[in-house]
């Protein structure tokens, strides 16, 4: 099971985003919220929204996820776009929408540090040439880019930036062994 750190997107966010001038949303498929499918259950599509003040930023995000079939730019100032996302958020909809914000980055970092400490250590040991004593803990910093979570690990002057998914998958591989 993947870590799902993002908030659910609620209708009450829309007027607040418009007030803040963050009118552009980029939607993309969001696999972190995928649930196991049971027979007879209607599958729901999980989407992630990222908000932007500038259309240029939104366009660059869209370019980064252009292969995604749900990639789109939503303009919160357009009535038809608003109607569409309201319909997507309504009861019985086929969609479940998440918002690319976390309640507290610090808390998330602490959670990752706690839950994935051994995996992070294993990654550093196998994938880098850093020489770190057993007592030293390398604390991760999280970074979000185009709807994807990255982990930044620092040691002295060196730094690596990896997809969080790689750390999570390493755990799965260990389980398979």
């Amino acid at each position: 099971m993947m870590l799902q750190p993002f908030e659910e997107f609620r209708p009450s966010y829309i007027p607040r985003l418009r007030k803040l001038g963050r009118r552009w949303l980029v939607s993309q498929t969001y696999h972190r919220a995928d649930q196991p499918q049971y027979e007879g259950q209607k599958p729901r599509i999980n989407l992630l929204f990222s908000d932007y003040m500038e259309l240029g930023e939104a366009r660059l995000h869209l370019n980064a996820v252009k292969k995604d079939r749900y990639a789109a730019i939503v303009d919160l100032e357009k009535a038809e776009h608003l109607a569409k996302i309201n319909a997507m958020m309504s009861e019985g909809s086929d969609y479940h929408i998440f918002f690319a914000v976390v309640r507290s980055a610090k808390e998330l970092e602490n959670l990752i540090n706690r839950k994935y400490r051994e995996k992070l250590k294993a990654y550093i040991e196998h994938q880098t040439n850093w020489r770190i004593s057993h007592q030293t803990a390398v604390k991760p910093t999280i970074q979000l880019s185009f709807g994807e979570i990255f982990i930044i690990l620092k040691h002295g002057n060196q730094q690596i930036r990896i997809k969080f998914e790689e750390i999570e998958k390493a755990e799965e591989r260990k389980g398979e062994e």
């Binding site: 932007y52 003040m53 500038e54 240029g56 930023e57 366009r59 660059l60 995000h61 370019n63 980064a64 292969k67 980055a105 910093t141 999280i142 970074q143 979000l144 880019s145 185009f146 994807e148 930044i152 620092k154 730094q159 930036r161 997809k163």
Partner: protein, 420 residues
């Protein structure tokens, strides 16, 4: 993560800043002596004006399309560059100024920052505060950031920002970057790599390390790591100490008289001495060269240089000028039309570790105080307010600057005037 911020068509943008009528028109800025085009607006590029194209070869094009031409105004460009760099420095803890219009920013300390938004904020702030348009490339290494910057200019011109944020975006950028456009690949290496079947940066990334080391040396290997996203190019927050300082210029008109040549050389020597003092160093040797115009093949050519060893390392203007003129006495030959002369001060040592000479009787402490006073007055009063008599005032050899714009930001008498 690193960002490379590059001012778009910098010299032209500086000229356009104070002259809005230039907007949308083809503009070029010429090199020293109004020789070649060294900066072009997009409109000028579309007309086919190539970088470094000599101006005498495109006179018809300039007239036909009304291309607006400027002589280079380095005082203005230097001042605006400083303002851009100051603005950029306020965003990040570490910055490396790479050239007059480019700077690398180290974004590694900005873990939680949304780098895309940061890029847009940087671009907006520089545009609003200084008025110079910039492009920004963000990536895992300096080489990739440089590539991302070029990529932003070519494929995301409206946004002006490109962030190679994940493997897919980096792969796309590498696949669309030609070998010759990679930072660190010169013409000869590009030719060799093309002959060896490499077309894009993505091709180079697939090359075996051994092959790269054999054919492109350890620098090539470093480049390969950079392309893989592993930082291998040193961060240079402070520039390395200089090994030598050279001041040379082509003359605005060719000269044959020794007195004029001595005047030019004395000025260049004084400039070198001032630079030495600003760096806190002294030189042990002075090299002087003079030359005729090598492009005038129908004329007899003459080019000589000579090195003068100083008794004691110095940064005193008078001593360096004296050495330069002694050199000129040795190599000057009458009967030629000279095009260029120059001076290089070499074997630099820190001012604090200068070895005293056995027979040296000069009062160096007094000389140093004198030079400090001269530098102070020149700084306050501008230009070379105090100078050696041999430096003269006439300066007939002065660079050709037929199309020079005012120094809007540094001279009170040249400030932009607006009629209301």
């Amino acid at each position: 993560m690193y960002a490379l911020v590059d001012c778009n068509n910098f010299y032209c943008s500086c000229e356009k800043l104070f002259n809005p009528r230039l907007e949308g028109r083809p503009v070029i800025v010429l090199s020293n002596n109004d020789g070649c085009a060294i900066s072009r607006t997009e409109e000028a590029k579309k007309l086919g004006i190539a970088m470094a194209a000599p101006v005498f070869m495109m006179r018809d094009l300039i007239e036909k399309h009304g291309v607006i031409v400027f002589s280079s105004n380095y005082t203005l460009y230097g001042d605006l560059s400083e303002r851009v760099m100051e603005t950029l420095a306020s965003f990040v803890p570490k910055m490396e100024i790479y050239s007059i219009d480019e700077a690398f920013l180290d974004l590694s300390a900005l873990g939680h920052e949304d780098l895309l938004s940061l890029g847009f904020r940087l671009r907006k702030t520089v545009g609003r505060n200084i008025g110079i348009p910039v492009s920004i490339g963000i990536a895992a290494t300096k080489t990739l950031a440089k590539m991302a910057n070029r990529f932003a200019k070519r494929f995301h011109r409206d946004a002006g920002v490109f962030w190679a944020a994940n493997a897919d975006l980096t792969a796309e950028m590498l696949a669309r970057t030609a070998i010759s456009d990679i930072w660190g690949i010169g013409n000869q290496h590009a030719l060799f790599l093309n002959r060896s079947g490499f077309r894009t940066a993505a091709d180079l990334l697939r090359a075996p390390e051994d092959w790269i080391r054999t054919h492109l040396s350890v620098r090539g290997l470093r480049l390969l790591y950079e392309l893989r996203g592993i930082p291998a190019v040193e961060w240079e927050e402070e520039s390395l100490p200089r090994q030598n300082i050279c001041t040379s210029r082509s003359f605005g008109q060719r000269i044959s008289e020794k007195a004029q040549m001595a005047e030019a050389l004395a000025n260049y020597a004084a400039r070198c001495a001032a630079k030495l003092r600003a760096d806190g160093s002294c030189c042990r040797r002075v090299q002087v060269f003079i030359q005729t115009n090598p492009h005038k093949t129908e004329e007899t050519q003459y080019r000589r240089s000579v090195e003068i060893e100083l008794e004691r390392a110095t940064n005193h203007s008078g001593e360096i000028i004296r050495a330069a003129l002694k050199g000129l006495d040795l190599i000057f030959k009458p009967g030629f039309l000279y095009m260029k002369c120059g001076i290089t001060v070499m074997d630099l040592v820190p001012e604090s570790v200068v070895q005293a000479g056995c027979f040296d009787r000069a009062d160096h402490l007094r000389n140093r105080r004198l030079m400090r006073a001269v530098d102070g007055i020149n700084r306050d009063m501008g230009g070379e307010f105090i100078r050696a008599a041999v430096q003269g005032f006439e300066r007939k050899y002065r660079l050709k600057t037929e199309f020079l714009s005012p120094r809007y930001t540094t001279r009170l008498d040249e400030v932009l005037k607006i009629s209301i």
